[in-house]
């Protein structure tokens, strides 16, 4: 059978929460719960930063041979509205979540024509089960010109190639 691949929100180097049929919510607290607590505040000036979120591939069942070419990309359109963005970086290791500026790259520049390489550090081919590839660290930024309210979800795609 083909592998059962999941995306987990990481809480440690080898611990995370399965996000199958679940979403990721940027918050002002370092936790994985999806609710309306700990909302991000619009600053009177400057920029506020959410706590970082770290996502990683998890093989719930193994591939027949291997999996490689782990990628992630957005749809290229930031529909969150004025003053709201998401920045990212990648790493081969887990780091404690922070709510200070990570000086990352605009997530919406990572598209299907220029995806994020999700196994540049922890390179494939990947076999067996468990956590594979790199950590994708995300952070929402909220500037003073943002509008209040609940945001609609954006589409984020993770792709993998299996043999």
């Amino acid at each position: 059978m083909a592998a059962d691949v999941q995306i987990h929100e990481m809480t440690g180097a080898t611990t995370g929460v399965d996000k199958t049929n679940g979403t990721v919510r940027f918050k002002s607290a370092d936790e994985t719960t999806v609710d309306t607590n700990n909302r991000l505040q619009i600053p009177t000036s400057g920029t506020n930063y959410s706590y970082t979120k770290q996502l990683r591939f998890y093989f719930n069942t193994p591939p027949d041979t291997d999996i490689q070419d782990l990628e992630a990309y957005s749809d290229g359109n930031n529909d969150f509205g004025d003053g709201i963005g998401v920045q990212y970086d990648t790493s081969g290791a887990f780091s404690a979540n922070v709510n200070t500026n990570i000086n990352g790259t605009d997530l919406f520049t990572a598209t299907s024509s220029s995806p994020i390489d999700m196994d540049a550090n922890n390179a494939g081919p990947h076999t067996g089960t468990g956590y594979k590839g790199d950590f994708l660290r995300l952070q929402m930024t909220v500037a003073s010109n943002a509008q209040p309210g609940t945001l609609n979800a954006e589409t984020l795609t993770f792709a993998y190639k299996e043999t």
């Binding site: 059978m1 083909a2 996000k19 299907s112 954006e154 795609t157 190639k161 299996e162 043999t163």
Partner: protein
């Protein structure tokens, strides 16, 4: 049935022997086959309402099999992360033949084209 298992592969060699993804109670690999002798790669639906697809590889005119692979696309939708699409691909030196598991449609591209949806 999970989306990634809706199709399985079947490969025929020049001598008429056929290998299938699931035989003798376990999953097989095509990597042990003589790749230069592969003349047919088929994607066979487990669910009969989907179409079967056959790639005939004309080795007598310089065409040859390169590899077979699957590709998964997990998307965060409003209702959460899920496997939104899974494709099977047969690559020859002349094209890539993609089969979409969600609806059985196919797509033919250049051999260096990387499908992202």
């Amino acid at each position: 049935m999970k989306l990634q298992n809706v199709y399985s592969w079947e490969i025929e060699l020049r001598d008429g022997s056929v290998s299938r993804q699931y035989e003798n109670g376990k999953e097989q690999t095509w990597k042990k086959l003589r790749l230069d002798e592969i003349v047919r790669v088929s994607f066979v639906p487990v669910v009969n309402i989907l179409p079967r697809h056959d790639c005939f590889i004309d080795i007598s005119h310089g065409e040859h099999f390169i590899k077979r692979f699957g590709k998964g696309f997990i998307k965060q939708m409003p209702d959460g992360f899920r496997l939104a699409e899974y494709v099977n691909c047969c690559q020859t030196n002349r094209y890539r033949f993609w089969v979409f598991h969600s609806n059985g449609r196919c797509l033919i591209t250049r051999p260096d084209f990387e499908l992202r949806i």
